[in-house]
């Protein structure tokens, strides 16, 4: 059952009492909040997510009202992960950003049965493309564009890899665009559903892009990765895709993982397998149409 099939008041009741329990990829997350503004945003932005009633939830989060000692009359909120507050208070209008970051944290710090790469992942023709994060990559912007042009969203942030099968696991969620990317995507994808811009966060202005319905509906379909592409947005550049050595790719991929070290030998073996099974490239681009064309050709050529 999807969130959209709940009435608004039913949604609100769940969220403010026992919690809204939804599937986020392989995880079930239980969210509690009685903030009206956040409730409305979530009802809209999470509409395609599936409910996880009567299933075990691995992550329990809540967003509650709080009073900031130094500015007691400005509404603030606190994010809680299992009752503990890992962040300082947020102004209330940033509640959605706090929730999304907090859920990232909740998943990242307690998941070691999977390898967690810091990477965007999309799928086409049954194979996954990994876009590891590194400064200037613009991976979320690129990812938002790709998933509205024929690619299926696995994640803009977490490359989940099953060490046993080597498969990538989808975890389609809201994609947070930052600062100038917001306008870029608004212009490039005028029909994409996006949340309101949230200003003055730690990462600047943030706006969340909703994944296309089929990305969420097909979140249980895994895929092996076939390409590892290290993107870099460079203003005014034309598209350039260049192969890189396996060793460079390995180092960059492993050092861009949330839990590579914790997994020890398993981490090493899993990354090795990925590198061996994939073709590895660097990618320089500036224009979204051009880069999508180039990636389409790359994918078709296999």
């Amino acid at each position: 059952m999807r969130v959209a099939e709940l009435s608004c008041s039913e949604f609100r009741t769940r969220l403010s009492t026992a919690g809204l329990r939804i599937k986020l990829g392989p995880f079930n997350v239980n969210i509690r909040s009685n903030l009206l503004s956040l409730t409305k945003q979530l009802y809209s932005l999470y509409s395609e997510h599936l409910l996880a009633d009567n299933e075990i939830a691995e992550v329990h989060v809540s967003v509650v009202r709080a009073i900031a000692l130094k500015t007691p009359f400005t509404p603030h909120v606190r994010f809680l992960l299992d009752g503990r507050s890992p962040y300082p208070l947020f102004p209330a209008y940033q509640a959605l950003a706090a929730l999304e970051w907090g859920i990232n944290l909740g998943i990242a710090i307690r998941t070691n049965h999977l390898l967690l790469l810091h990477s965007a992942v999309v799928e086409k023709n049954g194979h996954a493309l990994l876009f590891p994060a590194w400064p200037g990559s613009g991976k979320t912007t690129l990812c938002s564009a790709l998933v509205h042009k024929g690619y299926r969203l696995f994640s803009d942030e977490f490359g989940l890899v099953d060490p046993d099968s080597g498969e990538c696991i989808p975890i389609p969620r809201l994609m947070p665009l930052k600062n100038t990317s917001i306008e870029v995507i608004r212009n490039y994808l005028p029909k994409a559903q996006m949340g309101t811009s949230i200003a003055n966060t730690q990462k600047g202005t943030v706006a969340h892009v909703v994944p296309p319905c089929d990305s969420i509906a097909n979140a249980n379909i895994r895929a092996h990765a076939k390409w590892i592409i290290f993107p870099k947005w460079v203003s005014g550049s034309s598209v350039e895709i260049s192969p890189i050595s396996e060793s460079t790719a390995f180092l960059n991929l492993a050092s861009n993982s949330f839990n590579y070290e914790v997994l020890g030998q398993t981490g090493f073996d899993t990354v090795t397998r990925l590198i061996r099974e994939c073709r590895c490239f660097t990618l320089t681009y500036s224009d979204l149409n051009d880069v999508i064309d180039a990636l389409d050709r790359l994918v078709e050529a296999q």
Partner: protein, 366 residues
């Protein structure tokens, strides 16, 4: 007791005492057990129990993934800590100093069965007080450094406590706590820690020793019931349970040695609590006559009070419905732990200063 708190206590206790029945737990119980175990740092332990009792295929996969994740993390932390111990030994190899490994890192060295699944983060070692300056300067010279602590905290450690401020190597993240005693200097419990060093036992590694079995148990008891605040510290009581079972099975004279040693060291009270609560909560097979022989037992009233406060504090609060009474119990035992560690003339100013800091005083970055 509130129903929610009761449920938490029963769920965790049964996972230990009736571990063969874990596969019978409904999914809702698993969800709560995972959350509580995470708080208690017992995910790895329960994963170990599941595998040891061959129940893996019957546990819901979402729960098993969380248990596995906890065990993987515990193993990683152990690797980091034993490597740190190795490096500390290496750094001190040219001195004649004997290091005694304490707590978590010592349990595998003593052969404790469940120790491989235990999550611990810091490295605790003990040296004699007169060797402490050499140890500290040697480690500082070879790449370790102190955490940035305020001058207040510096004084707190050196003048009052039984350890120096923590050391961390520049290239690694494991904290090294070097103790010279098992109780703070200001503690109301006076214990001659030199006796513990003198009767420590060697390990296969030169220069590295561990406490003898009786002292290891006594140290665990003193740490839990005198030094710690007890909140969510159930794992330390489980250590007591493990130590008692392991060592009593290897030495028929273990209990009589334990009682005699507690008399000598003056640690009867914390030992009594450790054995009493381990027996009550985990059904540790300690015969009543042993308990009755422990010196310096608490009065009936005191024991009743502790029996009320301790379980509500050792076990976690229900994550969604925390019991207010349990919160009060934790606060009282927090005060108790400070009262035991320091005298009033030190305690009151200390608590006032800590409260001032907690409210944001002296804090430049808000």
């Amino acid at each position: 007791m509130s129903l929610n708190q009761q449920q938490c206590i029963e769920l965790v206790t049964r996972a230990i005492t009736h571990s063969g029945e874990l596969h019978k737990l409904p999914p809702s119980d698993w969800e709560l057990l995972i959350r509580l175990s995470r708080k208690l740092k017992l995910l790895g332990r329960i994963a170990w129990i599941v595998d040891n009792s061959d129940q893996r295929s019957e546990i819901p996969s979402r729960a098993m993934n969380q248990l596995d994740s906890g065990l993987i993390q515990a193993r990683k932390l152990q690797q980091a800590t034993s490597w740190e111990l190795d490096r500390v030994c290496w750094a001190l190899q040219d001195t004649n100093i004997t290091l005694v490994a304490l707590k978590g890192v010592a349990y595998p060295l003593a052969g404790l069965p469940a120790s491989g699944a235990r999550a611990y983060i810091d490295l605790d070692v003990m040296v004699s007080e007169d060797e402490l300056p050499v140890v500290e300067s040697e480690l500082l010279a070879q790449g370790w450094q102190h955490n940035q602590v305020s001058s207040y905290d510096e004084k707190y450690y050196r003048d009052w406590m039984h350890e120096i401020p923590a050391l961390i190597h520049q290239e690694r993240e494991t904290e090294v706590d070097i103790h010279h005693a098992i109780v703070p200097k200001t503690s109301r419990l006076k214990c001659n820690s030199k006796l513990l060093l003198d009767e420590s036992v060697p390990t296969s590694k030169r220069g590295l020793r561990v406490l003898n079995p009786v002292d290891m148990l006594i140290h665990c008891a003193v740490n839990l019931f005198n030094n710690n605040e007890l909140a969510d510290d159930l794992r330390d009581l489980l250590d007591i349970h493990d130590l008692v079972i392991h060592f009593s099975s290897k030495d028929t004279a273990f209990y009589s040695k334990l009682i005699a040693r507690a008399k000598l060291l003056g640690t009867g009270r914390p030992l009594y609590y450790a054995l009493h609560f381990s027996q009550k909560l985990f059904n540790t097979p300690i015969v009543d006559s042993v308990l009755q022989s422990v010196p310096n037992q608490p009065s009936g009233m005191t024991l009743k009070l502790m029996a009320f406060l301790v379980p509500r504090t050792l076990y976690p609060l229900h994550p969604d419905h925390p019991s207010r009474i349990s919160i009060l119990c934790r606060f009282l035992l927090y005060l108790r732990s400070h009262w035991l560690k320091m005298h009033m003339r030190e305690l009151i100013p200390h608590l006032l200063y800590k409260s001032y800091l907690a409210l944001g005083g002296g804090n430049t970055d808000g």
